[in-house]
Structure formats: C-alpha cells, structure tokens
C-alpha cells in the first residue's frame, strides 16, 4: 500500500493550552482509520490542522507526491450553516464541493444526479437544505464531500446527531465507499465500540497518541491500559468483542 499522508510530530498550542502534543501517524491507501478519544482530546483539531484550517505550532504533514489536499473530501462535525432559512437547494450545496478544475472537467448535472442516486437523495435535489432531517442533511454533505472523487474522506463525528437506525445505515454507506470505491477513510468518533467494527486502524488520542495501530491490536495495548486504566480497557474491549461477536 502506498502512503497518502504522514503526520510528523504535530503540535498545536492555543496560547498556553496544548491541544496536540507531537502527534505522529500515517494514512496509507485504502486505510480506514478511526480516531477516538475523550472529549477535548484534540481529534477535531488534528483533522483541522491536516486540512489547513488550524495552524500547527510545530511538526509537519507530509503528502505523498501523487496526493494533494484537493483530493480530500471532508464531512465536518458542524458543517452546515445553522440558519434554517438559508436559501440554498440541495443541488446548490452539493455543487459547492466542486473546485474550479472539476467544474471545467466534468458534466456537473450528470455527476450530481449519479451521486445523489447512489446516496438515495435524488428526490431531494430541489429542496431547501434547511428543511431536511438530520440524516438527509448528512447524506447531502457526504455528497458534497464526494463530488470531487476524493482519494481520502475525513468524517468528523458524522453520526452524533443521528438516531441509532440511521447511524447504522450511515456506517454501512461508509463501509461500502471504502470497500467498493477504494476511498481511504479517517473517521473521528468517541464511540469506539461502533467504529472498531469497520476500521482497519485505530488512533487513540488524548492530546498525544495513546495508541496507534491495527484495530485488532488495540486491546493488547499497554499504553492504552496505562492511560485509561485496566477496568476501562477491559470494559472497552468486552464491548468490542461483544459487538464483533454479534456481527459474526
């Protein structure tokens, strides 16, 4: 597998507060990496730094020669404009994902039509974005993130506002994208038990890296046990095993 991005000793300080402390990890092609950790552990900050939205204090992101920031699709935690009456149709919102290059190259209406069919939102294209349900909106923002055909898709807590049934559907949709379309995934979540069912790699973050490796190795991690305690680790891994068992 060829490497897409390598994060080398990334630190982010907001004044005296340390949000990230020397975080290193890498994403290869076709990885599905879940970034987990408690609230305020720096998960979103790390991704915002990777996307160039937050300035790093030290360290660097090394992009492979055949991969650029423009090939990243992003589904932010609070992507949407919270004004319910914002006058934008679903079609117009998906179009904002297109960069100038794509606008010139592709047949926009065909691309949006195909993508919206795939995501089950073709009947919503003319509707106002603010009038859709949370689940429908998430699909629209996913379409916006995918319209440029990204090599890497970053999803920041995409299911936090969804009810359990829709949440499961959403995870299945991401799984399909990963397996069939070969899109690499970074998924931020605080719900380790759910994401460990799908992720190939786990990055457990608490300002610094507590664990980074294959998801199957998580429960053997001494660092994790030291960080969150043996009881919490046991509980976490029991849940994880249980979930795996149910799925099998």
């Amino acid at each position: 597998m060829s490497k897409l991005i390598e994060s080398k000793d990334i630190s982010v300080h907001f004044g005296k507060m340390i949000a990230l402390d020397k975080v290193s990890f890498s994403i290869d092609e076709n990885d599905y990496c879940a970034i987990v950790g408690p609230n305020g552990s720096g998960k979103t900050t790390l991704m915002r730094a990777l996307l160039g939205l937050v300035e790093t204090t030290s360290g660097e992101f090394i992009f492979s020669p055949n991969f650029t920031r423009n090939q990243i699709g992003y589904l932010p935690q609070k992507s949407f404009n919270h004004d319910k009456h914002f006058p934008a149709s679903v079609y117009e919102i998906i179009m904002t994902g297109l960069n100038r290059e794509s606008l010139r190259k592709i047949d926009v209406s065909k691309e949006i039509s195909d993508l919206s069919q795939k995501l089950g939102i073709e009947s919503l294209l003319k509707k106002r974005i603010g009038y859709l349900s949370g689940g429908q909106q998430q699909r629209v923002y996913l379409a916006r993130a995918l319209i440029n055909k990204p090599k890497l898709l970053i999803l920041d807590e995409p299911t936090s506002a969804l009810d359990p049934t829709i949440r499961e559907e959403f995870y299945q949709l991401i799984k399909k994208l990963h397996q069939e379309e070969k899109v690499s995934i970074i998924l931020i979540s605080h719900d380790l038990s759910s994401v460990s069912l799908y992720a190939t790699h786990i990055l457990y973050l608490d300002q610094k890296v507590v664990f980074y490796g294959l998801s199957t190795q998580l429960c053997q991690s001494e660092e994790l046990m030291t960080q969150i305690g043996p009881q919490a680790t046991a509980a976490l891994c029991q849940v994880e095993n249980h979930e795996h068992h149910i799925h099998i």
Binding site: L51, G52, L53, R69, N70, I72, Y74, P76, S79, F80, N81, D83, H85, F86, P87, A88, S89, Y91, E92, I93, M95, T96, G97, L98, N99, R100, L103, K126, R128, R144, N148
Partner: protein
C-alpha cells in the same frame, strides 16, 4: 431624469448582486459603515473642489480593506470594526464641513441623494463600474456562494477565501460610492439590505434569491425616482420607502404561503 434612471438602475442591479453575500454572512452593515466613510470623502472633495466620485472610490475601498483587517482580529470583531471606522469618518466629515462654511447645500444632497447632481460622466462611470461588479460576481459566483454557506468548507475545497473577501469589500465600496448620488450616504446601505431581505422571503434557492433581489431593487429604484420627480419628494427617501413597502408585502406573502 434619463441619467438618474440609468444610474439608478445600474446601482440597483449591482447592489442586489452583492447584497445576498453580505446579508447572509451578517455583514450587511459594512454598507452603512462605508457610506459614512464616503460622507467624509465627499466633504473632503467639496472642500478641495474635486470630483467626489473619483476621490471616494480609492478612500472608501481602502477603508473597506481596513475594516476587513480589523475584523480578522478576534479582539475586535466585524461589527465593532465597522463602528470604529464609520464613526471616525463621520467625525472627520463633520469637522471638514464645519471648517468650510460654503458647501452645506451640496453636502446635504450627497447625504440624502439628489438626481440633480448626476453628471454625464457619472453615467459612464456607473456603467463601467456596474459592469465590473456584475461580471466579477458572475465569474466568482460558485466561490462566493460556497464561502457564504460554509467558510471552512470553502477553504478546504481550495478556495482563496481571503482574496474573495477583499474582492467583495472592494465591489461593495464601488457600489456605495455610486449609490450616494441617487439615495445618499445615509440611505445607501438600504439598497444592499432591503431587496435581498425581501427576496429571501420569496425564493427557495440562492440563484432565485439574486434574481428576485434584482427585480425588487430595479422596481423600487424606478418607481421611487418617478414618485420623487412627480411629487417633488426626496429621491433617496422615496426609493427606501418603496423598498420598505415591498419588504412588508413579501413578509405577508411568505406568511400566507406557510399557511398563516
């Protein structure tokens, strides 16, 4: 009369093209702030017997960039930045007008708009500048829309948001300077705000909001000018009151559409 209609229509179209990007980003008061700056520049131009239009464009544009720069400072914020610049400008304008006793009537016509001050050169300048505004907005339409909806995503998708902000500020400055001939410095921001806010009540998409805003703005400027000439009323006030009536009507239509 003919000049006033042409210039009025051009300003109506330009301001409604820009209005949606400013109103939806809660930045519409920049129009008001820049109008106050243009009050100072008009006073300065009258003092030195220069063309108010030519002197206002560079100074108001620089002020808009200064407001933008101050807004980026988290300790100040957008509304405070506008307040700082506009109140300083008004103070300078009042100071100049009190120092030179001779041009109070002229200044009054720039404050509240008068079609009598529109020259042939104003018509040509308005035509050129309005074309620049409309073409620029159309060229950057996708980028401006993306930025208005979600600034972070616009940055992530590789859009140069800082430069786009500067472009919007510059275009707003030009619109303000052009508009003070017809509606005056005190009322020009209403041309940016009213048509967009009324259009928002009538449309479902971003594009249709712009189209509605252009229709409403053009209608209010034409009817306002005709009423002002026909009944010998102040031009700016007539246009703004027509706009206010349309706003009330559109609010009522939107209320009825939603089923009361």
């Amino acid at each position: 009369m003919q000049r006033a209609l042409i210039v009025g229509l051009l300003i109506a179209i330009s301001s409604s093209f820009l209005g949606i990007f400013l109103v939806l980003r809660k930045y519409s008061m920049i129009g008001d702030g820049l109008a106050h700056v243009s009050f100072a520049t008009v006073a300065l131009a009258l003092l030195f017997n220069q063309s108010p239009l030519l002197l206002s464009i560079p100074i108001v544009s620089l002020s808009s960039l200064l407001i933008l720069k101050l807004s980026e400072d988290n300790r100040i914020g957008g509304d405070a930045a506008i307040g700082l610049i506009s109140s300083t400008a008004v103070a300078i304008g009042v100071m100049i007008s009190s120092l030179s006793k001779g041009f109070s009537v002229d200044l009054y016509s720039y404050l509240f708009g008068s079609i009598l001050i529109i020259s042939e050169m104003d018509v040509y300048l308005s035509l050129i500048l309005s074309l620049i505004i409309i073409c620029t907005v159309l060229y950057f339409y996708q980028d401006l829309f993306a930025m208005t909806y979600d600034m972070d995503y616009a940055k992530v998708s590789g859009r140069k948001t800082k430069r786009l902000n500067q472009i919007i500020s510059f275009l707003t400055s030009i619109t303000i300077v052009l508009g003070i001939r017809v509606v005056g410095t005190m009322l020009i921001s209403s041309l940016i705000i009213f048509p967009t806010v009324s259009a928002l009540r009538l449309s479902n998409s971003f594009k249709s909001t712009i189209i509605w805003a252009v229709i409403i703005s053009s209608f209010s400027v034409i009817v306002g000018l005709l009423v002002s000439i026909g009944f010998d009323l102040p031009t700016g006030s007539s246009i703004v009151l027509i706009n206010a009536t349309i706003f009330i009507l559109s609010t009522w239509i939107s209320y009825v559409r939603r089923g009361g």
